[in-house]
């Protein structure tokens, strides 16, 4: 197997023939064509080679997103309006946070179906403990009433810095759920699909039970800033009136952007600059061979699921703060379709061993743009989901095609 950037242990690992096995996406095919042969190609061969190169490029989805945006903006002028662009960026950040966690799990060859439920339980518990006031008639049937919560809110509700502690609680809870998932998968050798589906069901039900399916309101103002706060806002255009209308002020740098991008940088560093990241690719490519060659597979798997839970908790913080409520039903819709779709579109393989944070960032951007365009097209709301599903299917097929091309070229 060719030695790759992400795979220092590959000299001891036999090549994995499964589709999606780790490869440098731009390497073998290009290297296999000498400059002399390139000159001898016919125009059709050159075009074919160009598309193959584009398809294999790590930035393929970025190019596609830019082309998509430029073409669509011609037909739908509102797409390129500054307000729309800043809006779409705001929509990206929570989705990016959760998709990064899913990317890690997919690189392992696993899947985390409990991310939605993790968001629900962290949103609910975080909301309950930091709430500044709770209505007795609404929450008196909660099992936490009289202990962790009361009419004066949660136990951290009256503390000015209680919201920060609550955020830590939410993150720890995400880590704990990830640890449970990872431990069940490694210790009992259970399928990730089954373990995370079960934990999803349990934690989603637990969140509903804790609040008796009620939302948690009255969250502290500093916490709400995490989902909505602008650090730098801009106004474009001539100032005709002394007061600038709120709708004309564009959020440029926001707290959600900093949080998600910070998480992305951390994840990128972990994947590309640490032995842990290299071990992840190795385990995702061939777990048994990795274990034989000394990679602590079990520990890697547990840590990756913990990171996935952590990312879900970060997304939960952003969503809860943005909407201003702790929500036991958070993540219960088809958000996982969006998350897995964005990761796959970004080049993460469903078969493990392949994926990057950069790709996921581009995948999320593409996905958000796609939704924006579908909405602008005024398609029936019922068709939009079908189109989204179709795009994800195409992305999965592209993944297989890319892998086949790479395998042929290797």
């Amino acid at each position: 197997m060719a030695r790759t950037r992400h795979d220092p242990v590959s000299t001891t690992i036999q090549r994995d023939e499964r589709p999606g096995a780790a490869e440098d996406p731009s390497g073998p095919l290009l290297k296999s064509i000498s400059p002399k042969r390139r000159d001898q190609r016919t125009p059709s061969q050159a075009v074919g080679a160009f598309f193959r190169r584009a398809l294999l490029s790590e930035n393929f989805i970025l190019y596609l997103t830019i082309i998509f945006f430029v073409v669509a903006s011609i037909f739908f002028t509102t797409l390129s309006a500054p307000r729309n662009i800043t809006n779409q960026l705001l929509n990206m950040w929570p989705l990016l946070a959760i998709a990064i966690g899913q990317t890690f799990v997919l690189i392992l060859g696993g899947i985390d179906l409990s991310q939605g439920a993790t968001m629900a339980i962290t949103s609910t518990i975080g909301g309950l403990v930091m709430s500044t006031a709770l209505d007795a008639s609404t929450y008196d049937k909660s099992p936490l009433w009289g202990t962790l919560i009361s009419e004066s809110g949660g136990i951290l509700g009256q503390d000015p810095n209680g919201w920060a502690v609550a955020v830590v609680v939410m993150l720890l809870l995400g880590l704990l759920i990830g640890w449970l998932n990872g431990t069940m998968i490694t210790r009992f050798n259970l399928a990730p699909f089954m373990v995370t589906l079960v934990s999803s069901t349990i934690f989603a039900a637990f969140a509903l039970w804790l609040t008796q399916s009620r939302n948690v309101a009255n969250l502290p103002e500093p916490f709400l800033l995490l989902g909505n706060g602008d650090i730098i806002s801009i106004f474009l255009g001539p100032k005709l009136n002394p007061d600038i209308a709120r709708r004309d002020v564009l959020p440029l740098i926001t707290y959600p952007a900093l949080i998600s991008l910070g998480l992305a940088v951390l994840a990128h560093f972990l994947l590309t600059r640490t032995s842990f990241g290299r071990q992840m690719y190795s385990v995702g490519t061939n777990r048994r061979a990795s274990t034989i060659s000394g990679v602590p597979s079990q520990r890697v798997i547990i840590m990756v699921y913990m990171f996935s839970g952590f990312c879900a908790a970060v997304a939960s913080i952003l969503y809860s703060a943005r909407l201003g409520i702790g929500q036991p039903s958070l993540g219960s819709g088809n958000i996982l379709l969006d998350v897995i779709g964005a990761a796959v579109i970004g080049g993460t393989s469903l078969f493990g061993g392949k994926g990057t944070v950069k790709g996921t960032l581009f995948g999320v951007a593409f996905f958000v743009l796609l939704l924006n365009i579908l909405n602008a097209m005024q398609l029936s709301p019922f068709i939009i989901d079908a189109v989204k599903g179709g795009i994800i299917l195409i992305a999965a097929l592209l993944d297989i095609t890319r892998t086949r091309i790479l395998n042929r070229g290797a």
Binding site: N87, L90, P94, Y319, L323, I325, N375
Partner: protein, 345 residues
């Protein structure tokens, strides 16, 4: 406009919409764009409400941007922000719950876009145009009717009545109001006639038929002597039937084993079942009145240049019962649909 209305498959429904269009009172305004954000249209009520609003607005030459949030309040917030970015003149929403509605109304108003909330009100009713049924009152009227019947049954048999309520998702203020209305009547009768009702059984539905089916099956298996059921929404009558029928408890009024049944919404299925005698009463939300109030108030605000109009537009509701269905059926939107063959489509 008449061409648009012909698209509606229900003639009488169309007639009702004509009334709404007239009442909206704004001449053709092709330069107005309204954003309409809703949740999944899973029940007849929402389908009829969606039609009433979109067809009427488009009939007036108003552009309507539709957004379905698939029961995800976060997505609805994103969609409303998208509408604001597109520079719409006004927004109508059917929110997922009262809490998220507060945030969405605040978002629209802080961006100087007038917003109206259709039928599912925010918890804080001080902001936005809020068209809402008086759920407590409509429920009380419907439950009162079957409580009277229960009292007569109790006086004859001396056996206490076991009531059961199918509760909606309690993040929704409509669900809370309906539950409150139910308990108001039960408690009032128990004070007046001690021993009439056993402790009510509460069955959670989360506004989901599958959840309701599973929980109702369990509740009826554990309490086979239930003889009084109130469902917080009429769309669950088929679910109730599928649980009661195999147990021989699905009987029309006047026959042994009849379970007293009441609901709320006033949909076509409820109308049919009242006709057939299986259902005794339903609290009716006047859907066409609510749609009319929503559109009229929003268009008036746009015309007046108001960016943050605040008003509660109350639909008092009424009860349609086996006793008054012959007189009041034309006022119930579900009967209008039913009489026009809606359930045969």
């Amino acid at each position: 406009m008449f061409k648009n209305l012909r698209k509606l498959s229900v003639g009488a429904g169309a007639a009702a919409l004509l009334t709404i269009s007239g009442a909206a009172g704004v001449a053709a305004q092709s330069d107005i764009t309204i954003c309409f954000g809703f949740q999944d249209l899973e029940t007849e009520f929402w389908v009829a409400g969606h039609r009433a609003i979109t067809e009427t607005l488009r009939g007036q030459g108003i552009e309507v941007l539709e957004y379905n949030a698939n029961e995800d309040p976060n997505r609805q917030l994103e969609q409303i922000r998208e509408c604001i970015a597109q520079g719409v003149d006004g927004i109508i929403i059917i929110p997922q719950d009262g809490d998220s509605a507060n945030t969405i109304v605040a978002e629209a108003q802080s961006n100087d876009v007038p917003i109206a909330v259709f039928n599912r009100p925010p918890n804080d009713r001080s902001a936005g145009l809020i068209a809402v049924a008086d759920n407590v009152s409509a429920t009380e009227q419907a439950v009162e009717f079957i409580a009277q019947k229960a009292l007569r049954q109790y006086e004859i048999t001396g056996e206490p009545i076991t009531p059961l309520i199918l509760v909606g998702a309690l993040q929704d203020t409509n669900a809370i109001g309906r539950r409150d209305g139910f308990f108001n009547v039960i408690n009032r009768y128990n004070e007046r006639y001690p021993g009439l009702f056993n402790a009510p059984i509460e069955v959670a539905t989360e506004w989901d038929a599958a959840t309701a089916l599973a929980n109702l099956e369990a509740a009826i298996t554990a309490n086979p002597n239930v003889d009084f059921i109130f469902t917080s929404s009429d769309f669950l009558f088929p679910t109730i039937r599928s649980v009661l029928e195999p147990r021989g408890m699905w009987q029309p009024a006047g026959t042994p084993g009849h379970v007293l049944l009441a609901g709320l919404d006033g949909d076509a299925t409820a109308c049919m079942l009242i006709d057939q005698g299986y259902v005794d009463a339903t609290g009716v939300q006047d859907l066409y009145l609510e749609a009319e109030m929503t559109m009229t108030s929003l268009l008036d605000a746009i015309e007046a240049g108001e960016t943050a109009p605040n008003e509660v537009l109350l639909d008092p509701g009424f009860a349609l019962t086996a006793g008054n269905i012959y007189f009041d059926r034309s006022d119930m939107w579900g009967c209008v649909l039913y009489d026009d063959g809606f359930l045969d489509q």
